[in-house]
């Protein structure tokens, strides 16, 4: 039963399994385990990033192509909810319509980009997505009547999801049962569902073809698979995941602007999470998201302290300033790609495989 649920993609490492269970339980009971507004918003962000990153991993880890437009689709999903709620009022119908429209736009746009750029060489894809994403970002801030420009859009949601809505007078286990809690569990169910769906996708025959293309494009083509078609489908699926993640973000924040969903910084975050977690392992997205968001939320404070401590040396202090967060992120990224290319999941799996091999009686288990 469980095996079917995770599509036979077992963690293949006792440590990895333990970490995943801890993360799953931690997120499932986050409102009760970690009280406080900041902790809950970190947990919600983890859920959103799991969906966003798992979509990117399909492209980078399983298909072996790089897109820089992943945040564009993230933004489309978020703007879909934001604009529709703003235009048609806070109803479920508006949210549904906005979500459907943004999915449609994502589908059309990703299909067009994929067919155009993957036709010749995969390397075009990285360059063209970069160009399109940059143009889209400019467009989003220019169409200020529609998107709220640089200021973004704040909007209302159906009453059930608002923090001011109380479902019961009595707090349950010390946590008040309000709309915020319901939103969180909405995100949780969505994220878990999307993660399991992705496991299904990558472990299907389709997913195997993608991995074959990643390993050897010519051979896959020679066996008879249309590489362009598979790569394009993979990029479309990945974009749809990003779009759903964007909608989740908008539902949680009740706000969307260029910096929250479109900025290049988020693209960098996604890249780093995939690499840290482990490219080509769906579980890596979950582990990477947790590690990264915890670091981002709490390490920046540490950086601020370090910067203040180094005030005597202006250059060092400037380097350590929290505004230069991206510098350290970039360094970490480059070093991870060099020395840690298989990520946390890859390392744990290799360790487990080595241990297995070391046991008497079991030979070449991997």
């Amino acid at each position: 039963m469980l095996n079917r649920l995770i599509s036979n993609d077992q963690p293949r490492s006792p440590w990895l399994a333990a970490v995943l269970i801890v993360i799953l339980l931690g997120l499932a009971f986050a409102p009760f385990l970690f009280p406080g507004v900041k902790a809950l918003s970190v947990a919600a962000k983890v859920l959103i990033f799991v969906v966003l990153v798992v979509g990117f991993d399909l492209l980078l880890g399983y298909t072996g192509i790089v897109s820089f437009a992943h945040t564009m689709f993230f933004g489309i999903g978020a703007y879909g909810i934001a604009i529709s709620s703003n235009t048609w009022g806070p109803t479920w119908g508006a949210i549904g319509l906005g979500f459907a429209l943004s999915l449609g736009l994502t589908l059309a746009l990703s299909l067009a980009i994929g067919l155009f750029s993957l036709r010749v060489r995969a390397i075009f894809f990285a360059m063209i997505t970069l160009a399109v994403a940059a143009a889209f970002q400019t467009l989003a801030s220019q169409l200020s009547d529609f998107t709220g420009g640089e200021d973004g859009l704040s909007f209302k949601l159906p009453e059930v999801l608002l923090p001011s809505t109380e479902f019961s007078e009595e707090p349950f286990l010390g946590v008040s049962l309000d709309g915020r809690l319901l939103s969180y569990y909405l995100l949780f169910v969505l994220a878990l569902g999307m993660l399991l769906a992705m496991l299904r996708i990558v472990n299907s025959p389709f997913g195997r073809v993608l991995q074959a293309i990643r390993e050897n494009e010519f051979r896959a083509e020679a066996i008879g698979y249309r590489v362009v078609v598979y790569r394009t489908l993979s990029s479309v699926l990945s974009a749809l995941f990003a779009c759903v993640a964007g909608a989740m973000l908008a539902l949680w924040l009740r706000y969307n602007g260029p910096d929250t969903s479109l900025s290049f910084e988020i693209m960098m975050d996604v890249l780093l999470i995939v690499v840290i977690g482990g490219m080509g392992t769906v579980y890596g997205a979950a582990i990477g998201s947790v590690l990264f968001l915890l670091a981002q939320s709490y390490l920046q404070d540490l950086l601020r302290l370090a910067s203040e401590a180094a005030a005597a040396w202006p250059l060092l202090s400037a380097l350590l300033s929290p505004d230069r967060w991206l510098l350290w992120l970039g360094l970490l990224f480059v070093l991870s790609v060099y020395y840690f290319p298989t990520g946390v999941v890859g390392r744990l799996r290799v360790r487990a495989a080595l241990k297995q091999r070391g046991k008497p009686g079991v030979q070449e288990a991997a």
Binding site: V120, I123, M127, R324, L331, Y338
Partner: protein, 328 residues
């Protein structure tokens, strides 16, 4: 004309065709002339920046997403140099201005070349032959470089005013043509001519062209293509630095993010031109420059998308770019 016999002439026609197509849309002849000169100037500057990138790709199959870093670096070095030479830039005499601008260009090129050498050694070299990692690593290098620029020069926009004598415009009939744009066209043509001479008339150029065509063959003939590649990488970085100075003076201000912004334009240019082709890069750059200026005048909101549309149109015609490089 034996020289032009084996050159595919059709892509060359694209530039005048685009200019003529825009003419009826713009209507006024003098506006058209102003825009065309501006577009050609912008195109020449973009070409200076893009030519290094396309050769680097052609030679070693390395796509350097960090190329924009050298552009930004060149521009920021120029602000420091020109800022320190206020007496010379403030003067109304041409030769005094040139005394200020030329060192700015040379220092910017030297700094960009030095950083390029380090970038090649520490960022690019460990990931030869691995496209995926190259894209990731050079992008990471770009981010690190941009943040370091912010640490050194501050995160804000810095003005880079043109020297006194280069401001203003020349009137030619009704059309106003900015002096600096003429200078940009001249510098761009000089760089193009120098490149054509090196690539077409020297032994090193012969090796580079041969390497772009077939790297393994050149290696098997006993030439160290790696060393050649490092040279091309460094020269390409220096040219990006020069282009950065020109671009900064063209925009009259510099921001740390300019590298990433220009990167997008350059990628469009080298895709249009065909990865690895210098002549293609020139045509791509001129097309992008003209397109940006025409649409900036006709429909400013879609200016960035116009270049993407242009690229899409070209790719429909020739999926590998206007001058596909053989063997790739």
């Amino acid at each position: 004309m034996k020289l032009f016999q084996d050159v595919d002439m059709r892509p060359l026609l694209l530039v005048p065709v685009l200019a003529l197509l825009a003419f009826p849309l713009i209507g006024s002849g003098s506006t058209w002339l102003t825009l065309t000169v501006a577009g050609l100037a912008m195109g020449m500057i973009i070409f200076i920046m893009a030519s290094g990138l396309t050769l680097v790709f052609g030679l070693m199959d390395v796509l350097n997403f960090g190329h924009g870093l050298f552009i930004a670096l060149g521009a920021f070095v120029a602000t420091s140099v020109l800022g320190a030479m206020g007496d010379w830039t403030g003067s109304g005499e041409w030769w005094r201005n040139m005394v200020a601008v030329l060192p700015a260009m040379f220092i910017a090129m030297a700094v960009a070349a030095a950083v390029g050498l380090a970038f090649e050694r520490f960022i690019v070299r460990p990931v030869y032959g691995q496209h995926l990692k190259q894209i990731l690593i050079t992008m990471g290098g770009m981010i690190i470089g941009e943040e370091l620029i912010k640490v050194i020069w501050g995160p804000l926009q810095i003005a880079l005013p043109l020297p006194e004598a280069m401001r203003g415009s020349v009137l030619w009939g009704d059309a106003a043509i900015e002096k600096y744009r003429l200078l940009a066209v001249a510098v761009g043509l000089a760089v193009f001519a120098a490149q054509m001479w090196v690539l077409g008339r020297t032994k090193i150029g012969l090796l580079i062209r041969a390497g772009v065509q077939d790297r393994e063959m050149v290696e098997s003939l006993g030439y160290r293509i790696r060393r050649l590649f490092v040279g091309v990488f460094v020269v390409g970085s220096a040219l990006a630095g020069l282009g950065g100075v020109m671009w900064g003076l063209y925009q009259q201000n510099v921001v740390p993010q300019m590298g990433a912004q220009v990167n997008v334009l350059i990628f469009i240019v080298i895709i249009i031109g065909g990865l690895g082709s210098t002549g293609g890069a020139l045509i791509g750059a001129l097309l992008v420059g003209l397109m940006a200026n025409y649409t900036g005048f006709l429909a400013p909101k879609v200016a960035l998308f116009s270049n993407i549309a242009l690229m899409a149109a070209i790719l429909l015609w020739r999926p590998q770019g206007v001058y596909p490089v053989a063997n790739r």
